[in-house]
């Protein structure tokens, strides 16, 4: 039966080609948009994993936290240790927006560096380092830095109507391996140096609380909120849930735009199939007269639609893959990749295209089975 389906599609090359192109465009959009959303998901997922079981304590509202809060948090029962981190934008004029944190400077205690991030060269920060930096892989690539090179950090503050900015160089002592997390875009310098340079003495952006062994981190987060004023604590699970919630929203917007494109492609399949079925009134009537069962005619018509969907899907995925490949190459040159075409996206894209084709072929197929064999008998 497949040969008949192929024969019928190749008979009308132009029409079949245009329909497949329509589907391919839709699936192309699904793959590219989906790839972007997948990449974000993966980045956040890996980033959260690196934070291990630590509870993230942020100011309740915006602003920064006073270092005295660290001592208060340490006193909360169940907290093994707590430490602050100061996050600032590497270039205040080009801070990332939305979900992309952009390149950032993180002031960290040398003994609290994320050691799960391996170094490809150099060393970690050690106590006593001042304007030394361990940088993420994207930063290294973007600014073409090696161990021993200097990197400029910038501080810009508003004072009245004008803003004063001053800069200084830090020396790269270590480069992290690529991790696919937001830490690839980080410049890690000692906390005290960061506080001094950014004129933010005794201030941190975030406090991480390590739960003592056997402590439930969600409960501990609540306890911290109750014991320490004006903070908002999130356990890793809570953090993951919050981020997923936000990402779902983002995914929804991008994917639904893409799905819309694909549905329009699907409608063109339906249109093509309806036209094709009404042109072939005689053919379907004849097949029935020859004793074709309803299911054979359904199979033929829906098969045509599904095949167009599938070919369109493959073409769309291939096109998306090629585009994303080149986009990633150009983005990687200036930092990190933006898209990840995961096997999941490929499978979803292909199934979506095929099922879409089939669904849009259902009504035309139903019409085809309704063709009276009498039509075939009627005179031309």
């Amino acid at each position: 039966m497949l040969d008949l389906i192929v024969r019928s599609l190749t008979q009308r090359k132009m029409r079949t080609g245009l329909t497949i192109f329509g589907i391919a465009l839709g699936i192309f959009a699904v793959v590219v948009m989906g790839g972007m959303s997948e990449h974000l998901n993966m980045t956040y997922d890996k980033s959260i994993k690196l934070l291990a079981a630590d509870i993230m304590v942020q100011p309740d509202g915006s602003g920064t936290l006073d270092e005295t809060k660290i001592r208060q948090i340490k006193r909360v029962p169940g907290v093994k240790d707590a430490y602050g981190v100061l996050y600032t934008s590497l270039d205040p004029e080009k801070s990332g927006g939305g979900f992309d944190p952009g390149d950032f400077v993180s002031g960290v205690l040398p003994e609290k560096q994320i050691k799960d991030l391996k170094l490809i060269s150099g060393r970690y920060l050690v106590p006593g380092d001042e304007y030394k930096a361990v940088i993420g892989s994207s930063i290294a690539r973007k600014f073409n830095l090696k161990v021993g090179d200097e990197l400029e950090i910038k501080n810009k503050r508003k004072k009245g109507s004008s803003s004063i900015s001053h800069t200084r160089n830090v020396t790269v002592v270590g480069i992290q391996e690529y991790s696919g997390t937001m830490f690839d875009s980080s410049v890690n310098i000692p906390l005290d140096a960061a506080q001094k340079f950014y004129k933010m003495e005794n201030t941190v952006s975030m406090i991480y609380a390590e739960p003592a062994p056997g402590t439930d981190s969600s409960l501990l987060a609540k306890r911290i909120d109750l014991s320490v004023e004006k903070v908002k604590s999130r356990s890793p699970e809570q953090l993951r849930k919050d981020i997923e919630g936000e990402l779902v929203f983002f995914s929804l917007i991008t994917i639904s735009a893409a799905v819309l494109a694909a549905i329009i492609g699907g409608l063109s399949v339906m249109n093509t199939m309806l036209m094709s079925v009404s042109e072939r009134t005689k053919e379907f009537g004849l097949l029935k007269a020859l004793g074709a069962e309803r299911k054979s005619i359904l199979f033929m018509t829906m098969g045509e639609a599904a095949l167009m969907g599938m070919i369109g899907g493959i073409a769309g995925i291939a096109g998306g893959w090629i585009l994303v490949h080149f986009l990633n190459i150009s983005f990687e040159a200036q930092g990190s990749a933006l898209f990840s075409i995961t096997p999941r996206i490929v499978v979803i894209g292909l199934i979506f295209a095929t099922v879409l084709g089939m669904i849009c072929g259902t009504y035309p197929a139903y019409r085809a089975t309704k063709m009276s064999p009498m039509e075939a008998l009627r005179y031309e």
């Binding site: 005689k282 004849l286 020859l290 004793g291 074709a292 008998l377």
Partner: protein, 237 residues
């Protein structure tokens, strides 16, 4: 060559067949009590003016339409009470159709056009190929099997259609104006093919306007106003 009237069990029996259409609110009696027996191997022609009910009768026998009243038996089995789901199988096994305009699929070759009739019966690909080739060869198209309908003459196309009708060894071949779209010379070729098949035992019912065709058949049934007006088979008895 005539097998009728020799006491054999009829291959087709029609009893009290009626078909009434509603044209607006006026009932039209397309068939108004038709009784008919056909024996195996008979070549029958049904003639009559337009609207006399010939084509309606043919579509009742071919299970393409349902009667309002009455029964059709093929090989002793009533087909008029068959379920809709059984209709395709009955059409496949009992009936072969030949149409005025051939109705071949243009995208397929002559061989594939014959082959397609056997696909729905679940015949294996290799057997279909052999059978299709044999059928086409037997009606003189052995050298035309890979031609598409557009590359065949009208007469050749109709012979492909006849081979297709024969593919599943049907009890009856129903031919609706098989010579209506061809010239006189081709008509003779087609009629001789039908006569040859009938001689080999194939039952064939031909609906035609053309008396020159009807006169070459074993038995002529003349219809008027949904009834059988005359039947040479009965007259001969």
């Amino acid at each position: 060559m005539s097998n009728n009237g020799n006491g054999k069990e009829p291959i087709l029996s029609i009893r009290g067949l009626k078909k009434t259409y509603m044209q607006g609110r006026i009932p039209v009696h397309a068939l108004d009590g038709v009784n008919l027996d056909v024996k195996k191997g008979e070549l029958i022609s049904i003639v009559g003016p337009s609207g006399s009910g010939k084509s309606t009768l043919l579509s009742m026998i071919g299970l393409l339409d349902r009667p309002t009243e009455g029964s059709v038996f093929i090989e002793g089995k009533e087909i008029t009470d068959a379920k809709e789901s059984e209709a395709p199988r009955i059409r496949r096994e009992k009936i072969g159709f030949v149409f005025q305009h051939f109705n071949l699929l243009h995208t397929l070759t002559a061989l594939e056009n014959v082959d397609i009739a056997m696909r729905f019966s679940g015949v294996s690909r290799s057997k279909r190929k052999i059978r299709a080739f044999e059928l086409l060869s037997s009606i003189g198209l052995g050298d035309r099997v890979n031609h598409r309908p557009s590359e065949l003459s009208g007469g050749q196309q109709q012979r492909v259609a006849i081979a297709r009708a024969m593919a599943n060894n049907p009890a009856i071949i129903l031919a609706d104006e098989p010579t209506g779209a061809v010239d006189t010379k081709t008509r003779e070729v087609i009629v001789s093919v039908l006569k040859e098949l009938s001689r080999k035992g194939q039952t064939i019912i031909v609906v035609t306007h053309d008396m020159a065709v009807a006169e070459q058949t074993d038995r002529i049934i003349t219809m008027r106003d949904g009834r059988i007006e005359s039947d040479t088979g009965v007259d001969m008895k």
